[in-house]
């Protein structure tokens, strides 16, 4: 009997006997995704995950040549860009992919927000997702310093100084982040540790919970679609995850690869000038685009408001904004009862418009 079977069947049976693959395959074959006019938003989570894998892959490759010290970091990136075969490509893909990942993550976050997919029973999926959002921004911030160039040096100075505004623990946090009182080579070592060990570990843990929750609870159906289905006007349609949805996902990933390859090849990521601890901040300095709206706000805020430092109030306002987003499933209770609250949608629109307008202003001024 066994002699008649192919090698793959024998191997499959061998594994199945030990780890019960059958139940997993059964689960996968039954898995379905709702199909409706908002389905397109489902793809951005998968795209973000795909770009995260690109980051892990290219990041590991970069560690083969990168040296995390103030004396050698810039030179090692220069070496990767100019001497190592395809080094320019790997580094450019790492940088572009980081930016695309943050873009798809913003889209994913706000699409979930506006479709109110955070409503019961998916509060924890939102909370873990928000945690991932914060961690990805921390990835961006810590990775930005690693080439040790002029722009990243000042961005890190300003960014870490902002942590000092936090009441009571601010000064301690600044020292903890910088590895001393100032941004120096010690900060670089520390940020390297955050970027390649601490943050990946935390992301892996939270991402696993996030993805397991998505699997357990299935995809959320928007309130309007759900209502139409309940009233019998328009029943929801499902498509199987395998192969239909998965193939669409795959198609999305190929689009991402094409965009990444085009960006990396046509616009290789620049390295800039090496950081000089004793040079003035250059004119036209600004952080990465996803922090520009905060940066621009800090530029506009006057030095003193009602006797308090303007920047403290500004940073506190951003903190409250972040806390609001984090807690939104617990603040907005109506969608769980199939009601849409205009207030929360309005706040969401305000946040998106604020980010877009201030970012545009930041690039124009």
């Amino acid at each position: 009997m066994a002699r008649g079977k192919g090698l793959s069947t024998t191997l499959y049976e061998w594994i199945d006997e030990r780890v019960q693959l059958e139940s997993l395959i059964h689960f996968m074959s039954k898995k379905a995704v709702p199909q409706h006019r908002h389905s397109v938003w489902y793809y951005f989570g998968g795209m973000t995950l795909f770009l995260f894998f690109v980051q892990v892959g290219t990041g590991i490759l970069l560690t083969m040549y990168y040296r995390p010290s103030a004396e050698e970091a810039y030179e090692s990136v220069q070496f990767i860009m100019t001497e190592v075969r395809f080094g320019w490509l790997i580094r450019s893909i790492h940088s572009w992919s980081a930016n695309l990942m943050i873009a798809t993550m913003f889209i994913h976050l706000f699409s979930v927000y506006f479709l109110k997919s955070y409503r019961k029973p998916r509060e924890l999926t939102w909370v873990t997702g928000f945690g991932l959002f914060a961690l990805v921004l921390a990835f961006g911030f810590s990775g930005y310093l690693l080439p040790w160039n002029e722009l990243s040096f000042f961005a890190t100075k300003v960014g870490t100084e902002i942590a000092g505004v936090v009441p009571f623990v601010g000064k301690f946090m600044v020292r903890l982040l910088r590895g001393g009182d100032d941004v120096t080579g010690a900060t670089l070592s520390r940020f390297y540790g955050f970027h390649i060990a601490i943050l990946p570990g935390m992301v892996t843990l939270i991402l696993t919970i996030h993805v397991v929750l998505v699997q357990r609870l299935g995809m959320s159906v928007p309130i309007g679609v759900e209502k139409a289905a309940v009233s019998g006007q328009k029943p929801t349609r499902d498509v199987p995850f395998f192969p239909n949805f998965f193939l669409h996902d795959l198609l999305g990933w190929y689009v991402v690869i094409a965009v990444l390859a085009a960006l990396a090849a046509l616009m290789p990521w620049e390295l800039g000038k090496k950081a000089d601890l004793f040079a003035p901040a250059p004119a036209g300095i600004r952080p990465e685009w996803y922090f520009v709206y905060m940066f621009q706000t800090l530029k506009f805020i006057p030095a003193k408001i009602l006797g308090m430092d303007g920047e403290v109030l500004g940073i506190m306002a951003f903190g409250i904004g972040g806390l609001f987003l984090f807690l939104v499933p617990f603040l907005d209770r109506d969608p769980a009862h199939h009601r849409r609250t205009r207030l929360f949608s309005g706040i969401g629109v305000f946040i998106v418009v604020y980010i877009i307008v201030l970012t545009i202003v930041g690039y124009r001024v």
């Binding site: 000042f154 100075k157 300003v158 100084e161 902002i162 301690f172 020292r175 903890l176 910088r178 590895g179 001393g180 100032d182 120096t184 010690a186 601890l277 004793f278 040079a279 003035p280 901040a281 250059p282 004119a283 036209g284 300095i285 940066f295 800090l298 530029k299 805020i301 006057p302 030095a303 003193k304 430092d309 303007g310 920047e311």
Partner: protein
């Protein structure tokens, strides 16, 4: 006869159990503290013990042209030496009081300017526009031949 010892043991069982639970949870708590305390202490960078710089000499600092500025090292921090359009020398800490960027001299307006958030100081170090909340720290300037000696006021 039979019920007596049972009653006795059940009345002592609960305190014993809760005592053991107390011991278990406090020892787990103590283990966590024993692990995380040194980790937190390890992560907090040590004070370098660098002696505070009282003064520095800028060699040939007097060669600085009128209406210009120059960054110099004041210990581990940047300072800025300024020569006003009238030829007077002044020195300040070059750390912007807003978010710690390094400032520069702006010839066009004869002001000290921070590029990060557009903070502006006059030639006395006073914050005159933009977000900086305080003036720049002022240093004393003395001329010694061709050199400029900058010291903390």
């Amino acid at each position: 006869m039979n019920t007596q010892p049972t009653q006795g043991s059940s009345s002592t069982a609960t305190p014993r159990r809760s005592f053991l639970n107390f011991l278990l949870s406090t020892s787990i708590g103590a283990s966590i503290v024993a692990i995380f305390y040194p980790v937190m202490k390890y992560l907090t960078p040590p004070k370098t013990g660098e002696p505070a710089t009282a003064s520095v000499v800028i060699p040939k600092g007097t060669e600085l042209k009128n209406n210009s500025g120059q960054i110099f090292k004041f210990g581990s921090k940047p300072g800025i030496l300024v020569r006003t359009p009238d030829g007077e020398f002044r020195a300040f800490s070059a750390i912007c009081t807003h978010l710690e960027c390094t400032v520069q001299y702006k010839k066009e307006t004869s002001q000290i300017w921070c590029a990060c958030h557009n903070g502006v100081y006059d030639l006395s170090g006073r914050n005159v526009s933009g977000p900086p909340p305080r003036p720049l720290e002022n240093f004393k300037v003395n001329l010694r031949g061709e050199d400029v000696v900058v010291s903390k006021g």
